[in-house]
């Protein structure tokens, strides 16, 4: 049958969610400008105060408070790039951050690893940083590789550099460092990355790493954070300014109120970056959530947290800034029904809102623990979330009405060419979640998702080899680390050698 083309038919490519309207986002922005103009933000760095003052801000040196005229903030938003290349040692893993494209990664600065081989909960070491990186390297839906754990057995002067060394050794995906100690080590890290890129200019063209840094809520930016923002801006390294307001504690208890405080902090940090170096790659970040008023902790698997992330995505899109929020996070201490729910609700809300990068894969215990088994489960959850965001196509070929006519009543579609043609794009690949009948499940060992995740993680770690790093480059990296230790000393590190049977 002939079917002519349809004129001016609106299509939805990808499914999404409605959170705040444009008017509501504008209202949040206006409230933010009011806070930035009248109350301001504390910056604990003389150099940052100089940059901000030169850029048009009103600076109270005694109280270290900066108040921002609206044009300075909106000017900074305008100069920040809309899209950022997160380059990788293996260019096939290059990732474009921006628009409403979504991506996922792991988190971050955990201090414990839940080893699937032995079920032990161990304080993290430098070796664990490498193990986590190698597993993330092998895991399909981890789009870029973040540091997962802190090297607690390394000296204070260099622990973050040791972490970066492990990252570059164990993954060829783009590397994000979540625990940079300050400007001096940020610079050393960029020098390490430049060794791989082939020079400072090459690194600016292809930033092989990015860094995350956090304001302290409410409305304060610590000296080390100022240094990191400015150093990153100078090198052209993507800097993620990420706030974690705890609604009711370090910001208003209302979600929209918490967003105002959050927004002021992030825009303040991004303004510093842009005034330091206009056009610096700046990423708008959020882990803002509620403070649970019963237990006094800040849950990142809470539905409210997912809502705030989605709204943060909306703000970033209004500004034309790449966005990065928590997603696929859990407060549960184990891989269970709670973690399954938390991972999904915290992922799907920002994903449907088009947040560009969501971090949290592998997390348990609100980020304190990294679980390889959970990472495997999260890989599957992320695949399913991506499938939802991809939506569903409606056109003549896809609907296959001709096929429906041909098959008619009472038969089936299993051997139709149409089925074969479209099945891969229509259904997410599910390996870990078991959808079989009970009998079939029992025959296969009656295992839980956590057990299957653990087995898969062990198998991947046994078999996966990352792209090797040139030994000469590695040696030069180690020299940078040694220089840091000679300058800053060799403290023992915080590791206590604690182990616990789970």
């Amino acid at each position: 049958m002939k079917r002519g083309p349809s004129a001016a038919r609106e299509e939805n490519r990808g499914w999404g969610l409605k959170s705040y309207s444009r008017d509501q986002l504008e209202a949040i922005h206006e409230a933010t400008l009011e806070v930035l103009r009248l109350t301001g933000v504390e910056f604990h760095s003389e150099e940052a105060l100089d940059v901000l003052e030169a850029g048009g801000c009103i600076v109270d040196r005694g109280r270290r408070v900066v108040r921002f005229p609206a044009y300075v903030v909106e000017g900074a938003i305008a100069t920040a790039p809309r899209q950022i290349l997160l380059a990788a040692r293996d260019p096939r893993h290059d990732f474009l951050l921006g628009g409403r494209r979504i991506g996922f990664t792991n988190f971050g600065c955990g201090i414990k690893i839940l080893r699937p081989e032995t079920d032990e909960l161990l304080e993290s070491t430098k070796e664990d940083v490498g193990i986590a990186a190698r597993l993330c390297d092998a895991t399909e839906n981890v789009d870029i590789c973040a540091t997962a754990l802190v090297a607690r057995d390394m000296p204070d002067s260099s622990y973050d550099l040791h972490m970066l060394e492990q990252m570059f050794l164990n993954t060829s995906k783009h590397v994000t460092h979540v625990d940079v100690s300050g400007g001096t080590n940020a610079r050393r890290m960029f020098e390490m990355a430049a060794l791989i890129a082939g020079g400072k200019d090459e690194l600016r063209e292809r930033p092989l790493m990015s860094i995350l840094t956090c304001p302290t809520s409410p409305l304060m930016i610590h000296e080390s954070v100022c240094e990191i923002v400015m150093e990153g801006a100078r090198w052209g390294i993507p800097v993620l300014v990420l706030s974690m307001v705890m609604a009711g504690a370090t910001g208003p208890v209302t979600l929209s109120g918490a967003l105002v405080t959050h927004n002021a902090e992030v825009l303040a940090g991004i303004t510093l970056a842009q005034l330091t170096c206009p056009g610096a790659p700046s990423i708008y970040g959020s882990s803002t959530t509620i403070l649970d008023m019963s237990c006094g902790n800040a849950p990142l698997g809470a539905p409210e947290e997912g809502m705030i992330c989605a709204a943060a995505g909306g703000l970033a899109q209004m500004y034309g800034l790449p966005s990065w929020t928590s997603g696929a996070w859990a407060d549960s201490k184990v891989e269970d029904a709670q973690s399954g729910h938390e991972k999904t609700i915290s992922a799907i809300l920002p994903a449907l809102a088009g947040v560009n990068m969501m971090y949290g894969m592998g997390v348990l215990e609100s980020g304190m623990t990294f679980s390889p088994a959970q990472l495997m489960i999260d890989n599957e959850i992320v695949a399913m979330v991506k499938r939802v965001v991809e939506g569903s196509v409606v056109n003549d070929d896809v609907m296959g009405v001709d096929v429906i006519h041909r098959v008619g009543s009472g038969k089936n579609f299993l051997k139709e060419k149409h089925t074969l043609q479209y099945v891969a794009g229509e259904q997410a690949k599910v390996h870990l979640f078991d959808r079989r009948t009970r009998g079939a499940w029992e025959k296969r060992g009656a295992t839980t998702a956590a057990e299957r995740g653990g087995e898969l993680a062990v198998r991947l770690l046994d078999t996966h080899t990352p792209l090797p790093l040139d030994p000469g480059i590695h040696e030069d990296m180690r020299a940078i680390i040694t220089e840091a230790e000679e300058a800053g000393g060799l403290s023992a590190g915080a590791h206590t050698g604690t182990t616990r049977r789970w």
């Binding site: 600065c109 201090i111 625990d179 100690s181 610590h222 008023m293 019963s294 237990c295 006094g296 206590t496």
Partner: protein
């Protein structure tokens, strides 16, 4: 609404009720009525307001009272105390459970947990000197010495700043204070293992547990 002359029993009952209702106005009225009725302010404080606060803490542990309610309840008690204090002979230090010096360790500016613990210790009967955030180790030692503290508590959120808690242990030893104070460590980066490693006396997983352990430590 004003109270007529109260008996001790009535004052105690109304004090507890005011705290649990997180009603600062009522708490102050009870305190004023206590003085106007010529009752012993110390009795009303200890059996009334302090008891009310202890019950509030229990309700919070059982998740029947929320954190803001408990903190405001603490404010009610402090407001009542401010009134009753005028009639107490002098700040009866001997009745305080002990003197606490608390702060967020140098290099670290995260202080909400520490502030909550400080508030709870205060309403539990400790005399608390909260030094704030980014507090140098030497400052902890100086104030502990100056105030004759029984307990020194430090908080650290980050792996890098927690090593300051270890330096604090050393500094207290060097100042000859370590034998007379108990140390307490907290913050997301701290664990029981960490407390054991550096020789800190107390570690707790929550604010209310911290108060309980602090009381045990100085007893």
């Amino acid at each position: 609404m004003g109270f007529a002359t109260l008996t001790v029993e009535e004052a105690v009952e109304k004090a507890i009720a005011a705290v649990l209702a997180v009603d600062e106005e009522a708490a102050v009225e009870v305190a004023e009525a206590t003085l106007a009725s010529g009752l012993d302010p110390l009795v009303v404080l200890q059996e009334g307001f302090t008891t009310g606060m202890r019950k509030a803490g229990q309700l919070f542990e059982q998740e029947e009272m929320s954190l803001p309610e408990m903190i405001i309840a603490a404010d009610c008690m402090m407001a009542a105390l401010a009134v009753l204090e005028t009639a107490l002979p002098e700040k009866q230090k001997s009745d305080s459970l002990g003197t606490v010096v608390i702060g967020t360790i140098e290099g670290d500016v995260h202080d909400i947990g520490k502030t909550i613990v400080g508030t709870l210790l205060e309403v539990s009967g400790f005399e608390v000197h909260d030094l704030g955030r980014d507090v140098p180790v030497a400052e902890f030692v100086r104030v502990a010495k100056e105030q004759g503290a029984q307990l020194v508590g430090s908080s650290a959120l980050m792996t890098t700043t927690m090593t300051g808690q270890q330096r604090l242990e050393t500094a207290l030893k060097e100042a000859g204070l370590r034998d007379t104070v108990k140390t307490m460590v907290g913050g997301a980066a701290a664990t029981q293992g960490w407390a054991d490693k550096i020789g800190a006396d107390v570690y707790a997983e929550s604010a209310t547990e911290a108060v309980q352990r602090a009381k045990e430590a100085v007893a």
